[in-house]
């Protein structure tokens, strides 16, 4: 038995990847002696040494650009950005370089890097520490975007992300870092980076969620079960490339779609899920699509954050609405 929390699974995936491939490096602020502010890189410095676990100066654009240079030379850097609130400075490097180095050189130079970052709210963190900007990244051609939601999936997806020959943004909901423990053996296999996971089967409504919203969706499904409403719960896991088929197949069975996202409503990734169904699954829909999301306001400071983050109750209410419709 190797029970692990999500953050321990992240740590184990990096350790495994580093042990298997000397090209894997870890870079970022406080990833060395400190082991990362969430302890995601704990022990890696001791095990792999300062040539492979590298504390950087405080400069996010520089970290991302450095990783591009390392990757172009054949390393597989895993760069940590301390919180998604500070990832914006790295965006230019991701859009204009990491995600297009392969295509702009027609394959001559490539960019096998992973940028990891804790994301989302719910841990009473300071200002700028609780945002969910995944949709911005999912719009970037050439980038894979993955959001972890359980220890086992975090392990398999991160392992796959590190092995992937292209750049991956890997987001880890802080709220789930220590929420549960799960059996995650050291030799667990990588998981595919283009597949959604059906976590619970159901017949009345499809709940699509990712990251920190997955446990909420599951809780809503559980509550609704008592009301004889049967929900299928899908964890997208990889937002890009999107596993549209799994969503469409589910909606074809249930006829109802509720998409849950912690980020603000407008232009969030939930819109993409809804749009795909409106394009290719419209005729399956028996009720309007519902999105349960954060509001189009700045994520509030900690006193009000629970009123911002979608809850199982709000999700369940949306499902009931959809059930009432038809």
């Amino acid at each position: 038995m190797t029970e692990r929390t999500l953050v321990q699974a992240v740590n184990a995936a990096m350790a495994r990847a580093m042990a298997e491939d000397p090209a894997v490096l870890v870079v970022g602020e406080d990833v060395g002696t400190d082991g990362g502010v969430f302890r995601a890189t704990e022990g890696l410095l001791g095990r792999f040494g300062p040539q492979r676990v590298i504390d950087t100066p405080l400069a996010e654009a520089g970290i991302a650009g450095l990783a591009v240079g390392l990757a172009a030379q054949g390393f597989r850097p895993v760069a940590e950005i301390q919180f998604t609130g500070f990832i914006y400075a790295a965006l230019d490097q991701v859009v204009n370089h990491a995600a297009r180095l392969r295509t702009r050189t027609r394959g001559r130079l490539t960019c096998p890097l992973v940028i990891r970052a804790p994301t989302g709210g719910g841990v009473r963190a300071p200002e700028h520490h609780s945002e969910s900007p995944e949709a911005m990244f999912a719009h970037i051609p050439g980038l894979r975007v993955v959001v972890a939601s359980s220890p086992a999936r975090a392990f398999g997806l991160l392992l796959a992300a590190i092995r992937d020959p292209d750049p991956v943004l890997f987001l880890e909901p802080t709220r789930l870092y220590r929420a549960v423990r799960e059996e995650v053996p050291d030799d667990a296999p990588p998981l595919p980076l283009d597949r959604a996971f059906v976590l619970r089967e159901g017949t009345d409504a499809t709940l699509v969620a990712w990251g920190g919203m997955v446990p909420e969706a599951l809780a809503a499904a559980e509550a609704l079960e008592k009301e004889d409403v049967s929900c299928e719960v899908i964890d997208l896991a990889t937002l890009k490339p999107l596993d549209e088929e799994t969503i469409l197949a589910s909606v074809a069975r249930t006829g109802r779609l509720v998409v849950v996202q912690e980020a603000p409503l407008t232009a969030g990734f939930g819109a993409e899920v809804a749009a795909r169904v409106a394009e290719r699954g419209l005729m399956s829909l028996r009720a309007p699509v519902r999105r349960v999301t954060g509001w189009d306001t700045v994520m509030p400071l900690l006193r009000l954050e629970q009123r911002y983050i979608p809850s199982a109750a709000r999700i369940a209410a949306a499902v009931r609405d959809a059930m009432a419709f038809a």
């Binding site: 405080l58 609130g85 189009d296 009000l304 954050e305």
Partner: protein, 356 residues
């Protein structure tokens, strides 16, 4: 053939060493013991506030908090050099400066307790709020300074950030702007020698952080950041130059982070006592107290009275903070734009249970 086309030097200033004995003549303001007592009070008050905030966090009544233990001279010194109508653009560890400038303890507790109203200062209305994304406030300071310049005012800006922040591109860009337009702004580097777990030497190969200024063609200098007299003196000098059209300055204040990075940090993970303890002998409060005592300007009775007064003040702030009624959820919608757009009004109605 080689010729020298530019020469630079970085000077370090100290007035009062750890032993509390002045090194040579003190600047004019420091010859008035009342001024020094005020600085001392400011530092003690800051320390009392820090202690209260940490205690509140430990008991679950405040969010993550960044104590300024040991760095009070930087915040108080720079604030004392400013005029009330100057603008302060802080990082997140200059509570002492905010308090000096009239931000209330209750406001600071509200902010760190997770309530946006804490940044709606009743006092210094134009000061920027606490800035968390490291270094990103530096361009704001340049913008505020440009505004002052365009208005033909003799106001100026003081912007503070840490040693870690000096690696951020934003800071470099702000220095370029401030330099090229000779803006009235003083950048104070609170060099507490650590950026979370990254020590100063692993942050940059630069011998001093003051020399960041050279890249932007502006003067840089270093001061003993545990000497509140030197901090105030250097910042005042830089502000005077700024007001008279002489442009920007970088003042690196060398101090030490005696505590954890924040209440969420455990510094023992990355530095040991042997590294920390010598710095306790250099911290800012005892040296000024020693000097004041040697002048006969400070007594044990005054010290006790001050401590009691600070305790009373922080206790009152705590009570006021805890008694503040919570914000409505509506507040997060109402302040997003000057006028609530229709689609946000719909969300507000949904969120607050008042369906349209």
């Amino acid at each position: 053939m080689e010729t020298v086309v530019a020469r630079f030097e970085i000077r370090h200033r100290r007035h009062l060493g750890p032993d509390g004995v002045p090194a040579g003549d003190l600047p004019a303001f420091a010859r008035d013991p009342a001024e020094l007592v005020a600085l001392y009070r400011g530092m003690v008050r800051t320390r009392a506030f820090d202690q209260k905030a940490v205690a509140l966090q430990r008991t679950g009544r405040l969010g993550t908090y960044a104590s300024s233990l040991g760095q009070e001279a930087v915040a108080v010194g720079l604030a004392a050099a400013m005029r009330p109508d100057d603008v302060f653009v802080p990082a997140f560890r200059e509570h002492g400066a905010q308090l000096w400038r009239g931000v209330t303890m209750r406001e600071l507790l509200l902010y760190w307790g997770g309530d946006e109203r804490g940044s709606n200062f009743a006092g210094p209305r134009q000061d920027f709020p606490v800035n968390v994304p490291v270094g990103s406030q530096a361009p704001h300071a340049a913008g505020v300074a440009l505004a002052m310049r365009l208005h033909g005012e003799d106001r100026a800006v003081v912007c503070a950030f840490g040693d870690g922040a000096t690696s951020k591109g934003d800071v470099a860009e702000a220095l370029v702007f401030a330099g090229v337009w000779s803006l009235p702004v003083v950048f104070v580097v609170n060099n507490n020698q650590w950026a979370i777990s990254v020590p100063r030497r692993a942050q940059t190969a630069a011998e001093t952080l003051a020399q960041k200024a050279i890249a932007a063609g502006i003067p840089g200098m270093q001061v003993d950041g545990n000497d509140v007299i030197a901090v105030r003196d250097a910042v005042a000098e830089a502000l005077a130059r700024a007001r008279s059209g002489g442009g920007a300055t970088v003042v690196e204040a060398v101090t030490y982070r005696l505590g954890d990075h924040t209440t969420a940090d455990d510094a023992r993970r990355y530095r040991d006592d042997a590294e920390v303890s010598p710095h306790w002998r250099e911290e800012p409060l005892p040296r000024l107290r020693t000097y004041l005592t040697s002048l006969g300007a400070w007594t044990k009775a005054q010290e006790d009275a001050l401590l009691a007064q600070c305790r009373a003040e922080v206790d009152q702030a705590e009570a006021d903070y805890l008694a503040t009624p919570p914000q409505d959820l509506a507040s997060i919608f109402d302040h997003t734009f000057a006028v609530l757009p229709a689609e946000l009004a719909r969300q507000k109605a949904e969120a607050t249970g008042d369906e349209p």
